[in-house]
């Protein structure tokens, strides 16, 4: 079965630094998502992306967050100035009526 891939698997950064999380969606899928899971909590929707623009974003997805599909294959999530509370697993997903999740990037903000 085709897979969503994500890099890096673990990112450690200092508070206030910028991070970029990368995802390679399943080829030919058109709908992309980022979700977040704080340790021990449920998976939360961050943003959906279609046709090179944001379709919907949650309250979590504030001005510090941005998404981009820079080259037609990668899908990135940028956090401009990380905060301690941004520490979480970040999952990329694609959807064709069912959602396919990547393995996640563990972001640790120190």
């Amino acid at each position: 079965e085709p897979e969503v891939t994500q890099t890096p698997s673990h990112q450690v950064t200092q508070m206030g630094q910028e991070v970029i999380l990368r995802c390679v969606p399943i080829s030919n899928h058109l709908y992309f998502y980022w979700y977040r899971q704080i340790l021990g909590q449920k998976v939360e929707f961050l943003v959906s992306f279609y046709n090179n623009e944001i379709s919907e974003k949650s309250e979590i997805f504030d001005d510090q967050f941005s998404v981009e599909r820079p080259d037609g294959s990668n899908f990135t999530l940028k956090i401009r100035s990380t905060k301690l509370e941004d520490s979480a697993m970040y999952f990329c997903a694609t959807e064709t009526g069912r959602w396919f999740f990547g393995p996640g990037t563990r972001l640790t903000v120190l």
């Binding site: 919907e56 959807e95 999740f101």
Partner: protein, 114 residues
């Protein structure tokens, strides 16, 4: 209301037993109800899913029961095995415009004892 409420928070079952996890929702606009299995350090993996026009769906040892009038759905794992020990999330999808989103329940940590 976009919440999906899941119970119990944790569950311990003996090998060979039946594991039952329940979820409830309020929003009748939800139109797709998947269950995900998650192992530590991994992403959620789709286990089984149902649409509201069906009351039950079975795939191997996993069954979803769906009660549209009560706005409830449940996952039954028959003949539970130690390898089933994981966190299980119910979810519901909601579409707005071109894209949908999944609303997840709080998760149930299942431990199957040998």
């Amino acid at each position: 209301q976009q919440q999906v409420k899941q119970s119990p928070q944790s569950l311990i079952v003996q090998k060979g037993g039946i594991s039952i996890i329940n979820c409830a929702y309020e929003n009748t606009a939800f139109d797709y109800f998947p269950w995900y299995q998650q192992f530590p350090g991994k992403g959620p993996a789709l286990l089984i899913a149902i649409r509201p026009d069906v009351s039950e769906k079975k795939e191997g040892r996993f069954t979803i029961s769906f009660n549209k009038s009560a706005k409830q759905f449940s996952l039954h794992i028959m003949d539970s095995q130690p390898g089933d020990s994981a966190t299980y999330f119910c979810a519901a999808s909601l579409y707005s415009g071109n894209t949908g989103k999944l609303i997840f329940g709080q998760g149930t940590t299942l431990q199957v004892k040998p």
